[in-house]
């Protein structure tokens, strides 16, 4: 295919996003010199609102790692970690973060602080347990580990919610001691109010992608918005940013503007992007004028497009609910099947593209079965490509491009013969017109 490139949306959103992320790094540098306390958190189902109550700054190792990758600086720290003894198939995020820590590399060139607390809000990914243990050890910082039960049932049990609330309150006490600051309950509730507004705006932005053409790419463009979503969600800056983004994108949608002059294919994306080759990967979609109308990766920090909001009237309980049930990583695989299926049906998609991450066994291991579920049980065209989110050594451009081109050639051919269906029509109906039941219904057997 030709050299079509995405007409990326560039406006106030992008300028402000850069400013906000730069300011975040500046605050972290201030923290290193006696400024606000910093606390390490993991992105998945993060509880950043709790830190707002202390005026603390979140330090996200994943954001640092992906910033290094997107700037083509991840290989040196990865190699440094491997020299220390980390294995070739360890999570490349971990290796980039630990390697950068040891070598003193930072993404923005600004100093990073030693966190007052390394808080592993363990949600879904058990590699993080070891990652945060190592991060605490190497930085000589205190470690706290939240135990968040994995969601095996459709809804969390009341005991699970109470269990998390109890742990969060212990963290509050620990943070009071470590930061020397009092937990400000009013500020905590205010953070919950800000988060609810940000989540509402973010959710409405995602729902804009249900339009044809979609005004923004819910994978590549969504990633631009995800940094502020995690760092500033519980703050007035976050509210201002997301309400501006919503306004701008609503105006763009009202003008009928899409990503390309003519949107040809609409896909749902599963898996994180290959950050070291972010541009190259995006161009492979652009060559076919294909847009992502929804993505599971943009729900790692929280899944809000189906209605969940933080609740200022029940702040601890809603933090617990968010961590247990309203982020993609703590939900089970069958629920993820249904999440993707809902995107296909309600966001009017033609197919699914899975990007398998070689160094992430936890979330990639089941993607072969996932491909089988969508192609064979639901009859939805699904492409599976492999590389890595952080390690450039796993990206083979010719191989990935070949698969992408073959996938879209097949979709184009199917369209020319009238056999390509979009949205709800794409889901295969069983003989007699009965539609396949939701995958998570199988969970009832387990309960």
């Amino acid at each position: 295919m030709g050299e079509t490139q995405a007409s990326e949306y560039r406006s106030d959103i992008h300028r402000q996003q850069r400013d906000l992320m730069l300011r975040w790094y500046q605050r972290l540098e201030e923290s290193a010199h006696g400024g606000p306390p910093a606390v390490s958190l993991m992105i998945s189902g993060n509880c950043v609102e709790l830190l707002e109550a202390f005026g603390a700054v979140p330090l996200y190792p994943e954001v640092n790692a992906l910033q290094l990758a997107i700037r083509h600086q991840s290989l040196d720290p990865i190699l440094a970690a491997e020299e220390m003894g980390y294995a070739a198939d360890n999570c490349a995020y971990v290796k980039a973060d630990i390697g950068a820590m040891i070598k003193g590399i930072t993404p923005a060139g600004t100093e990073l602080p030693v966190p007052k607390l390394v808080l592993c809000n363990f949600v879904g990914c058990n590699t993080y347990v070891k990652w945060f243990e190592h991060a605490a050890e190497f930085q000589n910082a205190p470690l706290a580990m939240l135990d968040v039960p994995f969601l095996r049932t459709a809804e969390p049990r009341a005991e699970d919610v109470a269990y998390i609330v109890c742990q969060l309150k212990e963290i509050v006490k620990q943070l009071e001691e470590l930061t020397g600051r009092r937990f400000d309950y009013d500020r905590f509730r205010e953070a919950m109010r800000c988060s609810a507004r940000v989540e509402e705006a973010w959710s409405r932005i995602k729902h804009l992608a249900r339009r044809t053409p979609t005004p923004f790419d819910a994978y590549f463009d969504a990633i631009t918005l995800m940094g502020p979503l995690y760092v500033y969600r519980g703050s007035p800056e976050g509210v201002a940013f997301f309400e501006l983004a919503l306004r701008e994108l609503e105006e763009k949608a009202a003008r009928g503007e899409g990503i390309y002059d003519q949107e040809r294919f609409r896909v749902v994306m599963e898996g994180p992007p290959p950050y070291p080759f972010f541009r190259t990967f995006r161009d492979m979609f652009a060559a076919w004028k294909a847009t992502a109308v929804a993505s599971t990766y943009s729900t790692v920090g929280g899944l809000w497009e189906f209605g969940f909001r933080h609740d200022p009237d029940h702040p601890f309980e809603s933090l617990a609910m968010h961590m247990l049930a309203h982020n993609v990583t703590n939900r089970n695989y069958l629920q993820r099947y249904d999440q993707i299926r809902r995107y296909i049906e309600e966001w009017d998609a033609d197919g699914v593209v899975i990007h398998f991450v070689k160094s992430c066994r936890l979330f990639s291991a089941g993607q072969g079965d996932m491909r089988g579920y969508f192609t064979q049980q639901l009859g939805v065209p699904t492409l599976y490509v492999e590389s890595d989110l952080e390690d450039p050594r796993y990206f083979s451009e010719a191989q990935i491009k070949n698969r992408m081109d073959a996938f879209f050639e097949a979709l184009e051919h199917a369209r020319s013969t009238g056999t390509l269906h979009r949205g709800a029509a794409a889901i295969r109906h069983a003989p007699g017109g009965e539609i396949a039941p939701a995958a998570a219904d199988r969970l009832k057997i387990l309960q």
Binding site: M1, Q376, E386, A398, N402, D405, A406, E409, A410
Partner: protein, 278 residues
Amino acid sequence: MRVAAGVDVGSTQTKAVIVGEDGGVRMLGRALVDTGANVQRAAENGFLEACRESGVEPESVGFVVGTGYGRYKITFGNTQMTEISCHARGAHFLFPSTRTVIDMGGQDSKAISVGEHGEVLDFVMNDKCAAGTGRFLANAAEVLGIGLDEIGPLSLRARHPVKITTVCTVFVESDILSYLAQGKKPEDVLGGVHLAIARRTVSLARRVPIDPGITMTGGVSRNTGMVKALEEVLGTKLQVNSDAHFAGALGAALFAIEKMGESFESGIWRPSNATPRG
């Protein structure tokens, strides 16, 4: 007669096919050259040789579709398509009952689920590993000091095929040397090598899944030992013939005839600066 060409520049070999349409579509000629370092020249040589074999002037070819990894290097091509679409189309042309294609090439092996008109429904490929490809066989042949064309027939004589436990193209060499040191016969070693690749390929193919009407394409389809090993593991016969090696180029040529439409555009052929050999 409307004439079109398909050129498949693979990692190891370049294949070219000329088709003509005069009422029905038929294959007029084909050519095979080594790809080597100069991809552009290989494409030109293949195309010109196929023209000669077909008895058509290069200037009379109305449309050229390039495929394979070197497809973007074909300077005289009108457009490019992936070899996945082309193998499906070519295999369907050769055997209209094709519903599954197993294509084994120099560095790729793939399984394609094919619709009733030769369209791609689904596909899977090997990733970042040459096990299960022609390269694996080439390495085995090299270690044994036997020509690549001879290993298939020799493997058919295996009475007690050895068990090859590694599926790594590099480490298979030490496995083979170890068996030879134990006094195993070369045919039994080769029997084991072919079975190991067949098992790996079939487990890849089962992901599409495999529907009856299985056609084998690609360079390895010439290897009679591999065809038999695959049939043994699959428990069914494969559709394969001497044109199956050219299925990618043939599919590209069929797409070329289709894309050419009614407008005959002569003089597509423009030699590049690289002087063709021969």
